[in-house]
Amino acid sequence: MRRTALLLGVGLIAALPQLAQARPDVAPRLTIYAAASLTEVFPRIDRRSAYSFAGSNQLALQIRQGAPADVFASAAPSFTQALYRERLVEKPRTFASNALVLAVPRSNPAGLRTLFDLRSRDVKLVVGTAAVPIGAYTRQVLRRLGLSDALSKVVSEEPDVKSIVGKLALGEADAGFVYRTDVRAAGGRLRAFPIPARGQPNVRYEIAVVRASRQKAAARAWIRALTQTARARVLLRRAGFIVR
């Protein structure tokens, strides 16, 4: 009895490493680390892969720490390029662009009519932290349009764009800068005010194979399928991304 318990214990400890690597499928599955703004569209393009969506800065950090990603898709080239310089990913390539909008809850509690109402009205504004791409882009927009004072109306700095969407969709905040695609994905819970072209930053998505991946061939094929198949391009466009 005691021996069986002991054996069971030893067996459990021996099984731990296997457990850590266990995958639900028999066939190898790719693990895609992707910017939060890709949360809706990537699974639509490929249902089979495993996804981890977060701020691109957090994903880059996790990859640096040895996270088991096969592919990394970033909402700003700076993160993929930095990892490329550190020889942690293969050569990145651009696969889509996006644009920023000022989003408000459908009920528009602050009664905004244009982006420039941020100047005058008392608005509860939610933005990304300066480290996450959406936060960095937001600060660019405000600077270019001479609206940087609006940063004093910020009530919360969120770790990724979907957290901003959440605060807006709940009606907790009055306005927030998000990607155009996020408003489309929120399905009518948000309204968007466009940002004039002169304020628009160059929002470019880059994707790369992670060098530490054990499935580099499959990862490269995945990126090829994303960038070259008509279906993937149609789905990206339908979600609001700009694909050349």
Binding site: L6, G55, N57, Q58, A60, L61, P109, K124, V126, T129, A130, A131, V154, V155, S156, E157, E158, P159, K167, L170, G171, E172, A173
Partner: protein, 278 residues
């Protein structure tokens, strides 16, 4: 043979202790190893860290005051009275203990958020809670108060009933009995409960980021600062973490010291009984 078996059993037990200690100590010790003394000083000098500690201390102080103020009489009532539905009331008070913090955050939003159950009423009164320190206090109070109430009920229940009766027969009213007899006798347990609740409150993360958001100097508590800084400036995150480890450790020591401290001054037989069994 039997002696060999006993020795083997002891070896297994000792091994288990070693594994547990190593596994639980390693991550905590690694923080100090990674941060170093210079990093600690530099990290704590940053505005983010300073603001985070200020926000955390202020919101936790208010939360603890609320918890003690409401929790103590509530716990006294629940410990000394028996009434139908008492078990249900206690269970409701304990529910946040087992509810995940993310659920607490959603619940607070659903109740006090702008579109929440009381949202319109609060709006009409001109009260906004979301994104303010009030929201942080709400989140901390919600997740931490059950820890205190639970310990407080146990502490009051451990007070010898004959002491309370003696106080009453000697002419003290129920309020005076509470202040002069029950409260001092339960003091150690109450202090320990407060320390546990404070430890939970200092570490509060999930409900806060959902309900209060995160803004440096306003709603960004130390846990939120660690989360934000870990991909911006790891040293700051590590430095804040190190201070939290020290603070939590001090609280834990306080919990362990408190009952003994009052026990030695007290004449309550029930407290003697408890210290003998523990």
């Amino acid at each position: 043979m039997r002696r060999a078996g006993r020795a083997a059993f002891t070896t297994v037990l000792v091994l288990a202790v070693c594994v547990a200690v190593a596994f639980l100590l390693l991550p905590v010790a690694s923080i100090f190893w990674r941060v170093g003394l210079d990093g600690l000083v530099d990290g704590l000098r940053s505005d983010v860290a300073r603001d985070a500690f200020r926000v955390t201390l202020k919101t936790n102080a208010i939360s603890m005051a609320l918890i003690l103020l409401v929790g103590t009489p509530a716990a006294y009532f629940l410990a000394t009275r028996r009434f139908p539905g008492r078990a249900l009331v206690v269970t409701i008070l304990e529910l946040p203990l087992v509810v995940p913090p993310a659920v607490a955050g959603i619940g607070l939003l659903a109740a006090f958020g702008r579109l929440g159950l009381l949202g319109e009423e609060l709006e009409a009164l001109g009260i906004t809670i979301g994104f303010t320190q009030v929201a942080v206090v709400f989140a901390i109070t919600f997740v931490a108060s059950p820890f205190y109430v639970r310990w407080a009920i146990a502490a009051f229940e451990a007070v010898d009933k004959t002491m309370l009766d003696a106080s009453r027969t000697l002419g003290a009213g129920p309020a005076k009995t509470f202040w002069r007899v029950a409260l001092p006798l339960a003091g150690g347990g109450l202090g320990a409960g407060a320390a546990v609740a404070l430890a939970r409150g200092l570490g509060e993360f999930g409900a806060t980021i959902m309900f209060a958001g995160s803004l440096q100097g306003v709603t960004q508590t130390v846990s939120l600062a660690i989360y934000q800084e870990f991909d911006v400036n790891l040293d700051t995150a590590l430095a804040i973490s190190a201070v939290l480890v020290v603070g939590s450790g001090a609280l834990l020591l306080a919990v362990k010291a408190l009952p003994l401290w009052t026990g030695s001054r007290s004449t309550s037989p029930s407290l003697f009984a408890r210290s003998a069994s523990s």
